[in-house]
């Protein structure tokens, strides 16, 4: 129960890593604002079961990261709850594959809108709430492609690299006020996003990993739990690779 009594905001909680984080946070006693793109009956049912089983409150908050006004509305909804927010996990993201010369400006802007601009906007709102109590932990989910590059992932990798630079800058500005900011760089994790990867690229990346396997969403969620909890209270401004060891 590493998060007992804490309140967390998780974006992209409908599937993949976000859903795994939602689950491990609930099992560790956190009350959660579960942000996702759209209402979904199945998800509502899942949330209600999970919160019942774990004895925590889970409140869905729906907004589209392409819609700045909706992002503001989502943040204001959380603000109006008058709860102190201890943790923000930015997981939502989108991927578009295209070789460098084939990347359209529209696609590049769209990727940055989802993976970067809206995350910054949302984080501005939520960390203002954290500043009031003088404590908090922000975890941004980046990617190893931001550190290593990856053919065909120019827009995605660049947007995730921007998130790393933002993480370090936010840590410099906010850690003196008690808010830690860190990033995770997952490698090949079994999600819908990597299922869509060409098979030869995926198997090449698995062969490069020292553990010789793909990671599971739960394994990224374990590292998120570490960075969200007090286990990491002297860790800030860091990027931790969760990649099975890709040299």
């Amino acid at each position: 129960m590493l998060l007992r009594g804490k309140t967390a905001v998780i974006t992209g909680s409908l599937q993949g890593i976000g859903k795994a984080a939602l689950e491990i946070f609930a099992r560790n006693g956190a009350d959660i604002f579960a942000c996702c793109q759209r209402e979904d009956e199945q998800f509502a049912e899942y949330i209600s079961d999970l919160s019942g089983n774990c004895g925590v409150s889970i409140t869905p908050v729906c907004f589209d990261l392409l819609d700045e006004d909706a992002v503001r509305e989502g943040a204001k909804f959380i603000q109006k709850s008058k709860r102190s927010i201890d943790i923000l996990i930015n997981i939502a993201g989108a991927n578009f594959d295209a070789l460098f010369h084939m990347v359209t400006m529209e696609q590049l802007k769209r990727t940055f809108a989802i993976n970067f601009f809206s995350q910054i906007l949302f984080t501005q709102y939520i960390t203002r709430l954290m500043l009031k109590q003088g404590s908090g932990s922000v975890v941004n989910i980046s990617s190893i492609t931001a550190l290593d590059g990856n053919p065909g992932q120019l827009s995605y990798a660049s947007s995730k690299a921007a998130l790393i630079a933002a993480t370090k800058t936010m840590s410099e500005e906010l850690a003196p006020k008690g808010i830690r900011v860190n990033a995770l760089a997952p490698g090949v994790i079994k999600t819908a996003m990597t299922d869509a990867m060409p098979e030869d690229i995926r198997s090449r990346m698995i062969a490069r990993s020292e553990l010789k396997r793909v990671g599971l969403p739960d394994e990224v969620a374990g590292a998120i739990l570490y960075l969200a909890s007090d286990l990491s209270k002297y860790v800030t401004g860091q990027v931790i690779r969760v990649d099975g060891g890709i040299g």
Partner: protein, 247 residues
């Protein structure tokens, strides 16, 4: 209880970070071989109290890290006891501050003897048991001085840089056998080593961290707990800086 039923070896547990690790690991259900350099009734009594409090076993083990024969005898003992070793924390270390031109050969060799060679050999012994069982987590305590340049730390920093390089190679070699190897790079931590720093340097260092303070031994122990536990099952070959955002 992140380590329930697991067995861990921790070196250098008499004081400081190693001592904090005994508390944290025992509180999380691990049985521990607690290494210290020299035999002492107080140490035996203190570890017995911790073991009783948390309902775990703690076996005090005494040998000088430079004594190859004693280390080998310890490895043989582990083998004969047929107990699995799930976690090895190489924490024992010494430090020395001297400007580059003022560092005598004997000091340089001593830094490498204790901080690097002994860690190398102990890990050779213990990781063999882990590879056979296809699981294990090795945690080597390095230092931010192993990554950053610090005046007066040429010998110590170099020995810790060697630890980092070794850890990455171990991760690359043993990953396919299910053995993970990672480093923790503590920044300025409140231990006996800290008292070797001039106070002006200490003040400057504190202000150079995002959190504006030194770290506590328990905060390093918490990250060791994360790396020892299954929360980090997809993390290997990494250096995690627990440094409050040191620049």
């Amino acid at each position: 209880m992140l380590l329930k039923g697991k067995n861990a070896i921790i070196t250098g547990t008499r004081r400081g970070i190693g001592r904090a690790m005994i508390n944290t690991f025992a509180a999380n259900g691990a049985n521990i071989y607690a290494h210290a350099r020299s035999d002492s009734p107080e140490f035996i009594e203190e570890t017995r109290l911790i073991a009783d409090r948390y309902g775990v076993e703690i076996w005090p083990v005494f040998f000088d890290m430079r004594d190859g024969a004693a280390m080998k005898a310890f490895a043989k003992r582990i083998m004969s006891e047929r107990r699995s070793v799930d976690v090895l924390v190489n924490n024992a270390g010494i430090t020395h501050n001297a400007l580059f031109h003022m560092t005598p050969e004997v000091i340089l060799r001593e830094q490498f003897e204790v901080n690097f060679f002994s860690m190398f050999f102990l890990t050779q012994y213990i990781s063999k048991f882990m590879s056979k069982r296809k699981s294990g987590s090795i945690i080597n305590i390095a230092s931010t001085a192993g990554e950053n340049g610090n005046p007066g730390k040429s010998a110590y920093g170099a020995s810790k840089a060697a630890v980092i390089a070794m850890t990455k190679s171990i991760a690359a070699e043993l990953g396919e056998y299910g053995v993970r190897a990672n480093c923790i790079a503590p920044g300025v931590t409140e231990t006996d080593m800290l008292s070797t720093l001039p106070s002006a340097v200490l003040e400057e260092t504190k202000n150079g961290t995002d959190l504006r303070r030194v770290g506590l031994p328990s905060e390093i122990a918490d990250t060791a707990l994360f790396l020892a536990s299954d929360l980090s099952s997809y993390i290997t070959g990494q250096v995690i800086r627990v440094d409050g955002g040191l620049k």
